[in-house]
Symmetry: D2
Subunit: 349 residues, 4 copies
Amino acid sequence: ILGCTGIVGQQFIRMLENHPYFEISLLTASKNSKGKAFKDIVNWYVKGKIPESVKNIIVMDTHLESIINKNIDIFFCALPSQIAKDIELSLANSGVFVFSNASSHRMNPEIPILIPEVNPEHINLIQYQLQKQKGFIMTNPNCSTAGLVMSLKPLLQFGIKSVTVTTYQAISGAGRLGIPSMDILNNVIPYIHGEEIKIEKETQKILGSVHNFSINKQDIDIFPSCCRVPVRDGHLESVSVELAKDVDEERIFDSFRSFKGTPQELKLPTAPETPLIVCSKSDRPQPIHDSYAGTPKRAEGMAVPIGRIKKKGKRISFFLLVHNTIRGAAGTSILNAEMAFIKNYLKKS
Amino acid sequence: ILGCTGIVGQQFIRMLENHPYFEISLLTASKNSKGKAFKDIVNWYVKGKIPESVKNIIVMDTHLESIINKNIDIFFCALPSQIAKDIELSLANSGVFVFSNASSHRMNPEIPILIPEVNPEHINLIQYQLQKQKGFIMTNPNCSTAGLVMSLKPLLQFGIKSVTVTTYQAISGAGRLGIPSMDILNNVIPYIHGEEIKIEKETQKILGSVHNFSINKQDIDIFPSCCRVPVRDGHLESVSVELAKDVDEERIFDSFRSFKGTPQELKLPTAPETPLIVCSKSDRPQPIHDSYAGTPKRAEGMAVPIGRIKKKGKRISFFLLVHNTIRGAAGTSILNAEMAFIKNYLKKS
Amino acid sequence: ILGCTGIVGQQFIRMLENHPYFEISLLTASKNSKGKAFKDIVNWYVKGKIPESVKNIIVMDTHLESIINKNIDIFFCALPSQIAKDIELSLANSGVFVFSNASSHRMNPEIPILIPEVNPEHINLIQYQLQKQKGFIMTNPNCSTAGLVMSLKPLLQFGIKSVTVTTYQAISGAGRLGIPSMDILNNVIPYIHGEEIKIEKETQKILGSVHNFSINKQDIDIFPSCCRVPVRDGHLESVSVELAKDVDEERIFDSFRSFKGTPQELKLPTAPETPLIVCSKSDRPQPIHDSYAGTPKRAEGMAVPIGRIKKKGKRISFFLLVHNTIRGAAGTSILNAEMAFIKNYLKKS
Amino acid sequence: ILGCTGIVGQQFIRMLENHPYFEISLLTASKNSKGKAFKDIVNWYVKGKIPESVKNIIVMDTHLESIINKNIDIFFCALPSQIAKDIELSLANSGVFVFSNASSHRMNPEIPILIPEVNPEHINLIQYQLQKQKGFIMTNPNCSTAGLVMSLKPLLQFGIKSVTVTTYQAISGAGRLGIPSMDILNNVIPYIHGEEIKIEKETQKILGSVHNFSINKQDIDIFPSCCRVPVRDGHLESVSVELAKDVDEERIFDSFRSFKGTPQELKLPTAPETPLIVCSKSDRPQPIHDSYAGTPKRAEGMAVPIGRIKKKGKRISFFLLVHNTIRGAAGTSILNAEMAFIKNYLKKS
């Protein structure tokens, strides 16, 4: 795990505890932490306690020389984008498989942004990479995009003309030190740097179709507006979808309720049984109550609760909630790796 | 002032201190407060200190007998709707002028929902009422609607097809006891009872045109989604407007910047010099910084700051902030009364 | 469980799931909930999800006739004090065992306030009650007191002259609807009705000694000052203890670290392995990180983390954190029942 | 004003607007801001709007060469301590008068920590400095200390044996970027670096007596415990004072109510008419309601509201509130300068 001390890094560690496929053998952090035991440098922010199995792992420097050619098969990357960029390329080139939460390579046409319930077939993009080298990079979407595309996928069959999405994003999305308390306590900040363009471009790519190892991006107008709110975890999103035609309300509900995907079929360890959970109460989903939606235990935070679904003509409006550092980051990255593992993409030739 | 102890009641009191046209002579509250001095029953929540002039006013019971035929010309009403309903009708019938923040009569076709910068001509609806009686009821819009229609008015000239609006509403909007802290601390609640239908219907009425003392409501699709956030004061709104045609971006900006209305022409005491303030910083408006936008001092909280204006084809997106208990309640009600006063509607025949 | 819908009621339900000694057979709530399934009336606020085993229990009215003579051995009471008072007396009189979180009978000299790590011998007070009837009432302390006495018990051997305690109490301590958000968001309230006198009197009783079934209260000056802070769960307390003599610092630390009691000896199911956890980091304990201190899983929230221990002459200062609805309420009540069970006090004659 | 962009710097600017004695002629900030207009670099966080008179002042670099020998008589310093240290010494040495909020020189025996209501006679310490040079440094206390000593001064006549003080400190006390939101939202942090030792040492110095230009520090045991709470402005303090003798309760109240000092006698512009305001309501003072206590307008935030006064034997307990960046920082510094000005200490020889 590259970048093990941040919140996403911690989620990787938490979610990989006793994992049936993967075992943590290396942790990296910034130079200051080099050579120290994980438990002595981390300020543990995520659910539960530090897993015993990683407490005493000696943390390495996030530096290519420290981590390359160490007999490690896959890397999970929770680094800031600017640091991730080159390291990931070098690692993939050296023959390993990189599952990255960083945004650096998401818009690269040879690299998939994968969310296995939504676009499992995009995994084929890695063929491009494998023609040139033995390793590859696979990314998961931005936190807000992850929730959004999961809610849009079942509506795609009805034809989507436009999507207007307004977010209520948790402070953990900016990292542990990202948002000063004087900026957000008793306040809302209607600006998140670079977020809106990510939501637009990533959604169009993820919902696009693959032809001959290349993606035709989905032609949907996306109008995103992003805000930071004083909430610790869980991005709420207000979504308004303009469909191509007027569809019966019950069909809309059914499409959400019956939505399943490849991870559910393959019964992947981190797959939630029900990826979209339609809330029965009229004032839900809410961050404090619903962020950890998802069963079984390993999939808590992997389901996307959705509520207040309304239809007016061709417009469908609803609220969804996505746990930003689980389904919106580490969790999807792990699910991607699980799918790749089961589908035999992680075999060394 | 009917209902003087709530937050809106307090704003009426604060804003009417040393008012050039009006003087407070009667305050009402619930039965428990009857006969006590205002300063002894109020838990002062609004800006500044309790005005000396009202501190020792003996509060009356909010009961028709206590307040009717007392030689009072106008009543400002900050009562809950269900209580306001009958009292307002009786008062108007008795020959006085009622400026009400309650929602009870807003959708009555003979009663205007007035916001003087937006639909000053709607004041003519009171002719209906004056044909039957000597008094009238005039209302101001719901708090979220107030901000929204001010931002839509300058765009109306370009033709508005639809408006998608998502709100971040402050807890003061639900009154002092409205939202339990366990419901909102570290949370967002995607539901406000009755709010969305109010935004839709009131906006269509306010932006409608008057013909022969009757309103043709504006034919715009409004898609509102409302949320409560842990912020004390100031409703932020994310607005996305679909115009009928593609308009040059600079014209949009100009229409916001140059927007003025009747209150500015008449130089009404509570009128803000610039009703829409286009924010220059990219992360504004924000509740803690911009809620009290507006000059001069008496008009603080009466201006609507607007920011992050973006254009993509026919879609205009922006954020606006409205001080929910000033422009969204007491302030507009006072502005309405000022306009009525200057236009000689408050003369006793 | 009497009063099953409040936060303490929910903690009882959560902590009694799959309990080795007890099984939930009856739930009560207010009249409105009568006859409905638990899952349909509860707004689940506590950790995890509603246990399957109680979801469909039909809730009874909290009324003596509905609950008496139903073949239930023990009642856990999470009712407000004024409602609890008479019901508890009647239940005990009818021959059942009542473990109550209500404050109504705590200062009754025949009823113990028990915290098994601190004053297990006080259980003998129930003999008084058993002379008159077949049932008894046993109480647990007020939430703030529970944490405080656990930290004072190990210091008692050195002689305690006075205790100055200032609290930072979570909003959940006032119940789900107790604190309006307008009162506490971005604020601190230096007043909690009745709390300071409870801390003083309960502490003196709990730390007192039992002679001939009667308590000599401990003669310590207690100076409590209580505040509500905008935190959901976990009461932090700043404690300053004046000892009778100057004790070596290391002995103080040791007394905290080595502190164990009857529940640990008896290995009661809800007993934390280490009841006082001395924090190693200099800025701990903190509500968000340490509220659920305690192992094993069933005892999460039952340990009291303690930190920033300082000694200056005879003064010992430190901060402690107590999960107010677990160790400070339902958890201790359950621990009391577990001890009574193991010690054969719950046998029907 | 040295360090004009931080919150204390902004308070200096706000409070010096239209000041009868002083006029702002120079502003400094970090290198990045050099050469820019104040309005373009500041993120205005304090009450009201940026004063017109400073908006266009070109900000200088906080570097000795930029500011020395510029014909400026007095400097207000809002710099971080480590930066302030040498600059202040050099400035004083160059012959100007420095009023500093930095802690660097507070414990220097030749430099007073002045709070004019409490220890006006300590101003004489500057004679030491004036023997060596033409300028001097005068400091105001740490924010928490400022409130505390104002409440202790009237009790000093009864003999104070010990003071136990526990704080609830606002996030603005750590500066605009000081506390990450992930650390404090829904949390309390029982640690503020260096704060407790400052409260202890500064209080003993301020309450000490001057003999022959030297201070005999007051021999009181001070037991401080400091916490950060999620509140924007206003430090609340829970104070428990052990008096030397048992004093009649009414005398205690009177001593608080009648407390006045030199600033009130001299009618200094920034002096509050009533420096200690005894709250009549049982749940006050509270940060959101009482932080700006003090009249006239210029003295808002300069009074210290005090409430919940209780007496038990020789122990007096109460809560006080101090606006941390006004009375606890810029305001007292300005008050110090006003007193020095009126008493002719600011004359150039």
